[in-house]
Amino acid sequence: MSQAAQRSRYVLKRLLQAVPVVVAIVVVNFFLLQLAEGDAVDVLAGEAGSATPEYMAQLREKFGLDKPLLVQLGVYMKNMLTFDLGYSFRHDMPVAQLVLDRLMPTLLLMVSTITLAVGFGIVLGLIAASNLNKWRDNIISVFALVSYATPLFWVGLMMIVVFSLKLRWFPTSGMENVAMFYEGWDRVKDIAHHLVMPTLTLSLFYLALYTRLMRASMLEQASMDYVTTARAKGLTERRIVFVHILRNALLPVVTMAGVQVGSLIGGSVIVESVFAWPGLGMLAFEALFSRDLNLLLGIFLLSALLVVAINLVVDLLYSFLDPRIEVG
C-alpha cells in the first residue's frame, strides 16, 4: 500500500474514533447542565427586573425548555447533524455565529501564546541543559517555576499597572481601539498592540512547562548512543548539539505544544477576564452562569472538534519529522 493511501486510511480511522467522543461530550454535558438549578429563563427574568409567570412560561416554550429532557436532547442532536448549533437564549442570535465571532480572537491569543512559550521554552531549555547544574541552569529553573506559580491574574494586573498606567506603552484592555476604529493595516497593528500583554501573561504560565520539557528532552537525547557515535566520528560539540540532539529533542516539545493548543481552545477565562479579551473562555463562563445551554454545548462541541483535528495534525506532523514513527 502506498504511503499516501496509508495516511488517509489512518486519518479516516482517527476521525471515526473521534465521533463517539464528541457525541459523548455533548450528551454528558447536556445532562450535567440539567443538574444545575435554574434555567435561562430564570436568569433572563432576573435581569429584566421582574416578569410574570405567564411570560416565563412563554419563554420556556419558545426555547423548548418545557419539553421532556430526552426530546430536548434529541432535537439538539438532530440539529447537530445538520451543523445547526441552535440559538443562544441570552444573546438572541445563532450559536454558530457567536462562537465563530469569538474563534478568531481566541486562536490569535492561543497561537501567539504557544508560539512564544514554545520558542522561549526551547531556548531556555537548551541553555539550561548545556549548563547543567550551573548557575544559569538554576536561575532558569527558578524563573520558570516562579512564573508558573504566580497567580495569573496578579501577573496580568501588574502588567497593566506597569506597562499601561506607568509606562503607557500598551492599552489596558480590549482587542482594538474603539475610539478610532482603525481599518486595514492600521487595524492589524492596533490589534497586535492590544495582543502583547495578554500573550505575555499567558505565555509566562506555559513557559515553565516547555523549558523543563526541553531541558529533560535534551538531557535524555544526550545520553543516547548516536551521540557517542557522532563524537567518535569527530564532529564538533556544537554540531552535535545543534544538528543531532536538538532535532530529536524537539519531538516531545512539538507533541506537547499540539496537545496544549487543543486544550487551550477553551480559552483562558482569567486572562480574558483581566484583559477584556473577547475569547471563547469568557463566553463559556458567561454562558454557564446564564444557563445558556445551547451556547455552552456549542462551545464544548467546537473545542472538541478542534482538539481532535489538531491532535491529528500533530500526529501526522510527528511522522514527517521522525520517519521512524509510522502512522496507523
Binding site: 444545575a36 517555576l145 499597572v161 477553551g266 454557564l288
Partner: protein
Amino acid sequence: MAFWRRFCRNRSAVIGLVILCLVILIAISASWLYPEDPFKLVGRAMSPPGENGFLFGSDTLGRDVAAGMAHGARVSLLIGLLATSVAVTLGVVLGALAGYFGGWIDDVLMRLTEMFQTIPSFIFAILIVAIMKPSINSVVLAIAVVSWPAVARLVRGEFMSMRNREFVQACHIIGMSDWRIMIREILPNCLSPIIVTGSLMVATAILIESGLAFLGLGDPNIISWGFQIGAGRTVLRSAWWVCTFPGIAIMLTVLAINLVGEGLNDALNPRLRERT
C-alpha cells in the same frame, strides 16, 4: 537511606522540602498561633503590614491577614492533597484496568479519558463547582475530575509495558489472579512516576483552587489562600498586602512542592536525572 542520600544530593529539592515542612508546620499549629476564628473582625481595617499589631496587615473588614494565612494553609494543603488523592486513585484504577487488560476495556476507558481531556478543563471545573454549589467538596471534586486523565494515561502506559515482562508471565504461570498481579506485582513497580506526578498535581490543585476563588467560586464559610486572594484582589491597588501575602504563600508552596517533586524524581530514578 540510599534514597535519602540521593534526594539530598539535589540542593534545591532540600530547600523545597524545608519550605514545605515550614508550611505544614504553620498549618498544623494555626489554631495555636491564632486561636481566634480567622473571620473575626479583630481590629482596624486596612492596616498596613506591621501596624496595629498585624504582621501582614488587616483586610477591609479588619481581619488579620496573617491569621487567615495560617488557617488558610491548612485548607489549601488539604484541598491539594484530597483532590490529588481522588485524582490519583481514579487515574490509577482506570489506567491500570486499561493497560492491563487492553482490548475493548482499553478502548472504552481511553475514549472516556479522551473525552475528559477534550473538554476545556478549567471551564469544566467551573461547571462542576457551579452545579454542586461552591463548597470544599465541590472544589475538591472539580479539581480531581479535571486532573485524573493525565494519571490514567501514565499508569496505562506503565501497565502496558509491564504486562508482557517475564516476571508477570511467571506470575500467570503459577496461577496468580489478575487482581493480585496488578496490585502486588505491577503497581509497586510503577509507583515512582505516580508519586512524582502526584506531587506536582498537589501544586496544580492549589493553583486551580486560587483560580476558582478569583472567580468567586470558593466556599464562603472556610478561609483558604484562594479565598484570601479572591477577597483581596479587588483592593489590590489600595491595600496590596491583603492578597499579595497569600499570593506569595501560594507561590512558595507551589515552588517548594515542585522542587520536592523534582528531587523525588531524581532520587527515585537514579538513571534518568530528569523526567516530566
